[in-house]
Symmetry: C2
């Protein structure tokens, strides 16, 4: 017990001494440390930051949230009014759709995220559903457009001629689920500026681009919203009867990442090393993790550290007796979900520079 407690303290110290990695200075794109994954919740100051434009300055006193479009009773809420509504708190893992991009060979454009554009936090806010009910969502509304106060000119062609706000659109069927929050707290404290202060969306199970920060408008629309981010940026090639068709990204794909050892780490031979990591998915539950220490030839089952909780990650560990024979070894982790789906072993090119959810090889050296 003493030992276990000490271990826990040591790990927490390691976690908090780690810092964010800059992937882009401005707008802020900062990666969370992934290897010291010692607590179920990522500390707020280590949660990854993904921004499209500079962080806007908003304050609670003048903040307004507009709910309009295809609704019967358009309304505007102050921050105090939002806070006065019944709230819910949920643990939700957010992953950037471009997480692990640095593993793609040859290199592709975009922020070179390694393993840490994913984090897990507890979010508190009002269910979007309650707001849509209050506004009287029209029967024919098919999507809910979430618009932020962050604004600018995006970087890739085709560019709209004028600056735009960041905006994402969530299909109605998802938007009315009870887990989708209009959140104002993260890990029990008001949102920090870089995480969307004072109010952001949390769309559990979808890639991070859907959880719009600095949310100021919720607009119901009756035809698919073909804004910049859904068409030019976060989109992939789906197949319509053999023909590629462009669709916005949505649900997070099943993925497991190895946190320890980290890539190119040197391990002692013939000793027990605890391989650890985390796994998550979109609208399913992760039920099994297999680990390979020989590049995928053989697999062994890992043990979960966290229970099943839809939309939140599950950490796992696997005790590896390192080989006596020194040399390079390739570690892989492979998740399986409740439907029997298995994490893929290579990147699907239809997703372009996104959805890098295959088993990522972690190459280590065993040496004394």
């Amino acid at each position: 017990m003493e030992g276990s407690k000490k271990l826990h303290i040591d790990h927490a110290a390691q976690w908090s001494s780690a810092g964010l990695t800059i992937r882009q200075k401005e707008p802020k794109n900062l990666e969370a440390p992934f290897d010291p994954i010692d607590s179920y919740l990522t500390p707020t100051e280590l949660f990854y930051i993904r921004s499209h434009f500079p962080t806007p300055t908003l304050d609670q006193a003048s903040y307004q949230l507009r709910i309009d479009g295809a609704v019967r009773r358009p309304l505007t809420l102050s921050y105090a009014e939002l806070r006065s509504m019944p709230s819910e708190t949920r643990v939700v893992t957010l992953e950037c759709a471009g997480n692990s991009r640095v593993f793609l060979v040859p290199q592709v454009p975009g922020a070179q995220w390694e393993l840490g554009a994913v984090s897990n936090a507890e979010w508190t806010g009002v269910p979007l559903r309650a707001l849509l009910e209050r506004a009287g969502l029209a029967d024919n509304a098919c999507e809910i457009v979430l618009e932020g106060a962050d604004r600018g000119t995006p970087k890739d062609e085709p560019l709209p001629p004028d600056p735009i706000s960041y905006a994402w659109s969530v299909p109605r069927a998802k938007a009315i689920q009870p887990e989708v929050l209009i959140a104002y707290q993260m890990n029990g404290r008001d949102l920090s500026p870089d995480h969307g202060f004072p109010v952001r969306a949390i769309v559990p199970g979808h890639y991070g681009m859907a959880s719009v920060k600095w949310l100021t408008r919720i607009q119901a629309v009756c035809e698919p919203f073909r804004g910049y981010w859904l068409t030019s940026d976060y989109a992939y090639w789906a197949s319509m009867d053999g023909k590629p068709v462009r669709h916005p990204l949505g649900e997070m794909k099943l993925k497991s990442e190895i946190a320890r050892p980290h890539v190119y780490e040197t391990l002692a031979p013939n000793l027990t090393y605890t391989v650890s990591g985390a796994a998550w998915s979109g609208e399913t539950d992760v039920t099994e993790i297999a680990v390979s220490t020989d590049g995928g030839r053989t697999w062994a089952e890992a043990e979960f550290l966290d229970p099943v909780r839809r939309h939140a990650w599950r950490r796992w560990k696997f005790d590896w007796l390192t080989p006596k024979e020194t040399g390079p070894y390739t570690l892989l982790a492979r998740a399986k979900d409740a439907s029997g789906l298995v994490q893929p072993d290579k990147h699907d090119k239809n997703y372009g520079v996104y959805v890098i959810n295959h088993s990522l090889p972690i190459e280590v050296f065993v040496d004394d």
Copy 2:
């Protein structure tokens, strides 16, 4: 009469001695000569050619046209079966959506078309409507996808991972209009290989990208088709409630071009020079042409040479008594349509590298 006849012959000689201008060697993108616009119909060998991939080799004997998707009776027609159906012949102007791109300053990417990515021909074929009726178009079909036999990898990101066919989708409301043809003849002769042999679509009033060549499949679909050409290429920024949204191009915009004089031509002072050109539109009729010889300060009305015929251009002329004062002069032509709409005086940036339909300045020198 003798003189008039001789004049006609001279002009025809001039027109046929002109050639196509290469804008891209392979795939073939060849521009029509625009200044010798002496006949209402563009001779087939001078009609502009716009291709996305190398010209496919098809033959009448093995040709098949598949009509499927959201239809009650999918069917496949041979060339002979198509030819045996009742046909119609229509005069239709086709313009490439990128025509006049070379007039954009600063220069933008894409083929540097000048004035001649527009031509006018007589097309013979079976109305698409008749084929859709025969196949039993479903009530909920919203678009008709036209797919060609030309195939390859397009050039701009985001690229689909595998080669694709050229395909365009026409909204149902347009596809069922009587003017839309599945054509096999151009100017009274079988289509030439570069113009879509043996069968192509002709979608009057829409930019050329809709008139799919080497047509082998007609597929009715129940949701908007988001293929490469409609999302990554021929698309523009429309506005949804102030927010830019990406939509496929469609209807041709009102436009007049000056054919003579050509840009930087030197004209004699104090002589009557016949300024000439052509004007066209999408689903309206061109009713008026104004010409300015002083860069837009004053305007005079031009005279039409051709009657109103929906979806076909109208040539026009204006007799200009050139100034006694030598120097540079800027000529402009401005069309008006039956609804009172006037051709714009500058390019709308929402259209990016397409829809260059503003009055194009033709700079000339008066000198003796």
